[in-house]
């Protein structure tokens, strides 16, 4: 089953937490693979385990059982330092709350991943400037987050995610804090990035958003309940919520 073109290979992945005496299974044996160049939505209601899955996929959290292979690395076997390096090289994060450093300029925010990669200052500046231009913020490099609109902030965050040329863009509810028009801009930007060849995993609770993606994986109670074209998975989810 392993395919040379697979970027992500998740097999029987479980993650449980100890809550007092009770053990909570946030993920209960999840398996799927994502090929390079895919745009996949991970959709589910709150408590479905999608946040936990996003943390594991982002190498921020480790599974309690099962295996996770990202770009050829077996993540569950890596040390904390090695996972930090893997995040730095292979993953670009886009968060719902943007997670920009408020004191730093847009340019300095975008430079961050390159700092931890040890890229020299001059090259760093240049690449950060290019990344900001790609997301249409070439004129806003000196602005601080407080001087930018929500959509602009999310564009800075996307530039920061792209600047290190990672193999995976991992977006967690990227439109959750934006009005619908701005959210639409951001989704269009993702669509363009997908066309340019980026692999994108988008975590969301909105079936409407999942419907825009070529592929969606639906989670419920820590298990994969649907995996197929985005529009079908979204339609199924809508039917189920209407049915109950």
């Amino acid at each position: 089953m392993p395919n040379a073109n697979d970027l992500i290979l998740v097999s029987h992945l479980s993650r449980s937490y100890q809550m007092g005496v009770e053990e909570v299974h946030a993920l209960a044996g999840v398996s799927f693979s994502i090929a390079r160049g895919e745009w996949v939505a991970i959709v589910g209601q709150s408590g479905s385990g999608k946040s936990t899955l996003m943390n594991v996929l982002g190498c921020l959290d480790t599974p309690t059982a099962g295996t996770y292979t990202l770009a050829g690395s077996n993540v569950q076997e890596l040390s904390d330092d090695a996972r930090a390096d893997l995040r730095n090289r292979e993953i670009g994060f886009v968060f719902q709350t943007f997670q920009l450093l408020s004191r730093a300029t847009a340019l300095a925010n975008v430079e961050l991943p390159l700092i931890y990669r040890g890229v020299p200052r001059g090259e760093r500046r240049e690449r950060a400037r290019q990344a900001l231009e790609e997301v249409g913020l070439g004129a806003r490099t000196r602005h601080r987050p407080s001087e930018l609109s929500g959509g602009q902030r999310q564009r800075v965050a996307i530039a920061r995610a792209l600047v290190g040329a990672p193999s995976l863009l991992l977006a967690d509810e990227p439109t959750g804090n934006l009005d619908s028009a701005t959210g639409e801009d951001i989704i269009r930007l993702f669509s363009e990035l997908h066309k340019a060849g980026h692999t994108i995993v988008l975590v969301t609770h909105e079936p409407r958003l999942a419907a825009r993606c070529p592929r969606a994986i639906r989670l419920s109670d820590g298990c994969v309940v649907a995996d197929g074209p985005g529009s079908e998975v979204a339609a199924m989810a809508a039917a189920r919520s209407v049915g109950t």
Binding site: R87, F93, R103, A104, G118
Partner: protein
């Protein structure tokens, strides 16, 4: 990119990040730095004053003559249990002096000294409790000090027991305050007790040692002293040697004195050979504990400054939890986060330390101006101040930095 180059660039980046963080909270940074500065200032001021005291004591002690042994019944700066033992010793007098003069091959000068307290007066001015010392013309060779006005005693004064006196600078200055000061003393006649003495000279000024004036004495011929105060007093014999010969002289004098005083071979010496470095040793013993306490107080202040740093760093870590989460998500290792906060603490500590060192030196100078204490500024004190503060910064910064480094990135990103 090599690990070393990556570490170097991380340090450079972290210094920038730390400075940025400090600049954002100016008041907080200032207060923390102030706490540190006060601690270092205290330590530096105390050390500077202690070193100044030690230095001035050493300088004063050196006026005793570095190559001179003082044969005495009493050991200098003795402790009480030895006092009774020495009290019962036979006095040191003419036989010992003659034996040393005749037999010692290493002695370059020998000067006996007897001491008594007496009243000295000139016209209507009277000084009580002046140290009157009976000695010989060889005194300047053993003491490293002589008359700089008029002349010192000569051999003839001692042989003929002349009533002549050389005044210590302070005695001359006070007695002749109305008559034109110390210059006017030579050629005048003063009364020691009720006996008139012609002033032939005034000694060069020596200053103070441990707050006591070294210039409030009167020197007269040893023979005249015997007539005035009686010849039965125990004397001190100052014996000078060539540089480097002090140990050999000590052995030689011990042999001569044991024989003259008929000390049986199985008994200990019943005399003491005092020397100036012994003063230093005892001084250090007596003052060491006191200095320890003073430095301890300074260190406690420094620790309080360090706790201030720790406190503020813990607040800073709490406030920047989300930032730490973001940095971890973007690829910062635990070590990098640890370093970031350690560098921030170290910057506060070292800047505080530098300001404190400066302030400490100023305080030491002020103390030196306003009190009889002196202050010595040594490079080692400055190095110590900066070194201490860096250590305090790293020690007290390490706990908050570790708190930051061990944060779980998922939790940190969620922190409100």
């Amino acid at each position: 990119m090599s690990a070393g180059a990556r570490l170097a660039s991380e340090i450079v980046e972290n210094v920038g990040i730390a400075l940025d963080g400090l600049a954002t909270h100016r008041l907080r940074t200032f207060l923390t730095t102030l706490g540190m500065a006060i601690g270092v200032m205290t330590v530096i001021a105390i050390i500077a004053i202690i070193q100044g005291l030690n230095k001035s004591f050493e300088a004063q002690v050196s006026t005793f003559g570095a190559h001179t042994l003082y044969v005495d019944k009493w050991k200098w700066m003795t402790l009480s249990d030895e006092w009774w033992q020495m009290r019962n010793r036979k006095r040191i007098g003419k036989p010992e002096l003659d034996a040393i003069v005749n037999e010692s091959k290493l002695a370059t000068a020998v000067a006996p000294t007897s001491r008594a307290m007496a009243t000295v007066s000139f016209r209507d001015r009277t000084l009580s409790d002046v140290r009157v010392e009976g000695t010989s013309e060889q005194y300047p060779l053993t003491a490293g000090n002589t008359a700089d006005r008029g002349r010192f005693l000569v051999g003839g004064d001692v042989e003929a027991a002349r009533s002549v006196a050389v005044l210590g600078f302070e005695v001359a200055d006070k007695l002749f305050a109305d008559a034109g000061g110390a210059h006017a003393a030579v050629g005048s006649t003063v009364l020691i007790g009720s006996r008139p003495f012609a002033v032939v000279g005034v000694m060069a000024r020596r200053g103070r040692m441990l707050g006591m004036s070294m210039d409030s004495n009167v020197l007269i011929p040893w023979s005249s002293f015997g007539r005035l105060f009686g010849a039965r007093r125990s004397i001190t014999i100052a014996v000078a040697a060539e540089p480097g010969q002090l140990e050999a002289l000590e052995d030689e004098l011990t042999g001569i004195l044991r024989r003259v005083r008929a000390v049986p071979p199985d008994k200990r010496d019943d005399f003491t050979l005092n020397r100036q470095d012994q003063l230093l040793k005892i001084y250090n013993q007596l003052t060491g504990a006191l200095y320890g306490v003073a430095v301890g107080v300074g260190l406690i202040t420094l620790i309080v400054g360090g706790i201030g740093i720790m406190n503020i760093m813990l607040v800073s870590v709490r406030e920047r939890t989300r930032e730490i989460g973001v940095r971890r998500a973007l690829g910062a290792r635990r070590r990098t986060i640890l370093m970031q906060f350690m560098i921030e603490a170290a910057i506060v500590a070292v800047v505080g330390g530098a300001l404190g060192t400066l302030a400490g030196l100023v305080v030491a100078q002020i103390v030196a101006l306003l009190s009889p204490l002196t202050a010595a500024v040594t490079p080692s004190a400055i190095g110590l101040g900066l070194g201490f503060s860096a250590v305090v910064g790293l020690v007290f910064g390490s706990w908050p930095a570790w708190q930051a480094a061990k944060l779980d990135p998922v939790e940190a990103l969620r922190y409100e």
